[in-house]
């Protein structure tokens, strides 16, 4: 099969698997049925059972990956749509999210360093609280491993949603703005989807926090890395 044909097949398979995963998520709406997790698992099973090397799959997968940059750019639009909420709540959202970002990157870096992990692993874990395409970009610039970065992002997203009600109760975070910043800042898109189910305000705040956190983490991570490492 020519390279072009392999690429097309890989893309078609990814699209089909993705749509099945979206359908499944609509029927079974849990944090651990998010399409990115189920699609990834299914494609890995397919590749392993047909003994297809990852490289071969990436002939087509790489074309999809090329759209990651423009996909990050697209995040400007939801932020723009929430601009009224952002204007009204500039200080609480920006300050809360930025503090969260600093705490998240610092704790990730230091804990993984103390535990004695290699630098490539530490740099893959550090940007875990931001949306996957941005986490990948940050990890790449630090010299980490992008697929691993995506795994940590998923753990932070799914784990965060599962732990959120206990965390909010324990620390008495009751206000929808506080909860929105917590969800979007710690658990990005997966947290935001869950925040939207609670209330519109919490969802809007979470959307803003997720995007602000992406900017904050990409700004502060290189500085904190040079400080701690």
């Amino acid at each position: 099969m020519s390279k072009f044909a392999i690429g097309i097949v890989a893309i078609v398979i990814t699209i089909v698997v993705y749509f099945l995963a979206v359908k499944l998520h609509r029927k079974l709406d849990y944090p651990f049925t998010v399409p990115v997790l189920t699609s990834t698992v299914l494609i890995i099973i397919l590749l392993l059972s047909f003994r297809i090397p990852y490289e071969t799959y990436m002939v087509g997968g790489g074309w999809i990956e090329k759209l990651l940059g423009p996909a990050v750019v697209a995040l400007a639009y939801p932020l723009y749509q929430q601009r009224e909420t952002l204007k009204k709540l500039t200080a609480p959202i920006l300050i809360g999210t930025s503090c969260g970002a600093i705490v998240g990157v610092s704790s990730g870096l230091l804990l993984a360093k103390w535990a004695g992990f290699e630098e490539t692993i530490i740099y893959s874990l550090t940007p875990k609280s931001v949306t996957t395409p941005v986490a990948m970009a940050v990890t790449e610039s630090l010299g980490g491993t992008t697929p691993l970065a995506a795994v940590f992002v998923m753990i932070a997203g799914i784990g965060g949603v599962l732990m959120s009600s206990a965390v909010f109760q324990l620390f008495r975070i009751k206000h929808p703005i506080g909860r929105g910043v917590g969800m979007g800042g710690a658990s990005h898109a997966i947290g935001t989807a869950s925040a939207m189910e609670s209330s519109q305000l919490e969802g809007s705040v979470s959307t803003i926090a997720m995007i602000v956190s992406a900017v904050a983490v990409s700004l502060i991570t290189p500085l904190l890395v040079s400080l701690y490492m």
Partner: protein
């Protein structure tokens, strides 16, 4: 068909912002990824009204609603690293979860405190 062409052109426009962001990153030697710079540029263009939302709406909505699709190929790459989570690697999961709790608590409490303080002042 018109819709498809419109979406392709709009995604082209987003790619242009990405390329400009990437270019700015390398020229000014910035630490922020080019894609994030491109996002900030687009937000600026939308806020100032230079770019109308209708010029990018269909393309961005399609991408945002299916954001996960674009990183699936990279996440599949984890199959080459599964051994990292064996043995001591399980600690990485604990660190990620612990750090996530810290972010959620810290961000949530600080913003809640600022909002409640602001509301009290206004009363």
């Amino acid at each position: 068909m018109f819709k498809v062409i419109q979406i392709i052109i709009q995604i082209g426009l987003l790619s242009l912002f990405y390329l400009v962001g990437d270019w700015m990153q390398s020229v000014f030697n910035l630490v922020v990824p080019g894609s994030v710079i491109g996002m900030l540029l687009l937000f600026l263009f939308l806020s100032t009204g230079i770019l109308k939302t209708s010029w990018i709406e269909a393309g961005t909505t399609l991408i945002i609603n299916n954001l996960a699709f674009f990183f699936i190929p990279v996440t599949v790459g984890v199959l080459e690293y599964y051994d990292i989570f064996a043995g001591k690697g399980i600690l990485l999961v604990a660190i990620t979860l612990g750090s996530t709790i810290l972010v959620m608590t810290c961000g949530g409490l600080i913003s809640q405190w600022l909002v409640v303080r602001g509301e009290l002042k206004n009363e």
